[in-house]
Symmetry: C2
Subunit: 248 residues, 2 copies
């Protein structure tokens, strides 16, 4: 407003909220779209409850988080999909580390996340990209002039129990690209991306694992493959059984 709509000070102030290791880890944890208590976040980040409390107050005050108090608990979650997108975009600009370096133990956990996870409220990882690509192949989505849902796609979605009309309300885009961290290719976000993920969970085709991880159920694999017109093998999970966490 002073000079050009937004001045450096206010922009810096907002960025400063994310410029702290602890607050940043809070936001990344909250990317799963769920509400966390202050204590959970404190433990996850490895800081004292008092420290976490202070950070949360700032994040809420800055508009990035909203809180909901229940009894003696303070639940916080991201203020909305646009904040989630902001964090995602920011994370996407982190320069690639010089050394991929991962421990054996972290590798298996990382592989599970690379296969399938939630990205705020929609599917991501290899599975998310596969779904995205299949929707394009089937003509549900079209990319000739920007990403868009086709009329045929509306009917197809209704067939699997995802009515589109209710999704058009609000200012959230119906479909949106979201660059996948691990695949470096786009997967489907937006209101439809969220609705599709929720539907798959409802149908029991996928279930939530630890953290943001998503697992394909035994029944879900063939069902999803059939619905998307894919060979069942195309949805094969990572190397081996995803359970079987390293000896720990």
């Amino acid at each position: 407003m002073t000079t050009t709509s937004t001045d450096g000070r206010s922009l810096a102030g907002l960025a400063a909220l994310l410029a702290d290791r602890t607050r940043a880890s809070f936001c990344l944890a909250l990317l799963d779209g769920r509400a966390w208590t202050a204590g959970e976040l404190a433990r996850a980040a490895g800081v004292a409850p008092s420290t976490a409390s202070d950070h949360l107050t700032r994040l809420v005050h800055g508009g990035l988080l909203v809180e909901e108090r229940q009894g003696r608990h303070r639940y916080v979650r991201l203020a909305g999909p646009s904040v989630a997108q902001l964090i995602e975009d920011l994370a996407g600009h982190v320069p690639a580390p010089p050394v991929p370096a991962r421990t054996l133990r972290a590798a298996s956990a990382g592989a599970a996340l690379a296969y399938a996870r939630t990205c705020y409220d929609h599917l991501a990882g290899r599975l998310g990209v596969l779904v995205h690509d299949a929707l394009l192949d089937r003509g549900v989505l079209d990319r000739t002039g920007g990403l868009a849902l086709t009329p045929a796609g509306v009917a197809w979605l209704a067939g699997i129990g995802v009515p589109v009309e209710p999704l058009r309300t609000g200012r959230r885009p119906l479909v949106r690209d979201c660059l996948d961290w691990t695949e470096r290719r786009p997967h489907l976000a937006g209101a439809l991306g969220a609705a599709l993920c929720a539907r798959f969970l409802d149908l029991g085709w996928v279930v939530r694992g630890t953290g943001r991880a998503i697992r394909l159920t035994p029944a879900g694999g063939p069902a999803l493959a059939a619905t998307l017109g894919l060979a069942p093998a195309a949805l094969a999970p990572p190397p081996s059984r995803d359970t079987g966490p390293a000896r720990a």
Copy 2:
């Protein structure tokens, strides 16, 4: 890619680049899409050249800026459209200031920017939103399933000297919404938004003013109105009082 896609530390490190008033103002200045010299940015931000030099080194190192050295000058610009989008998105999340408060002098400069300006490399401000709306009205763009360019739109664009096919290269989205700071409504970004802005400049319909400001030329007003199917009065610039400069 690292452990869990992105950890708090690296995200915080990236955000820290934008969490400084001086660096943030650099980035905002560079949103005009042009390359600035280190000295220009230093003067614009009101810091010593040595200070600016240090900041620029960090921004380049962090991947947000790219530099180009010519003789004794160091030119820097944003590393790409995605960085511009990131800054825009971040700026869009700045909580509304308690007091709009602008001085009389700043008001006139602000009014010019509110009317028309560049947003990295595409049109923004009231003019940008008008163009965006007109393209939807004419059926060049379609929003029934996400923002998309229509087949009819491709032909229409060819008619005004904007071939679409070359724009499909690269990973930049063809069309994309960009929330306008002043209008609080979307204008057109993406490769097409940039191409359209460049074409209007080429045709002499609009010219660059000071900074990011854009002015409609005497010839450009009627030409643009005719092309977009608008009444010439609809494009009236701010000086000649339009219907309500802003909110009262």
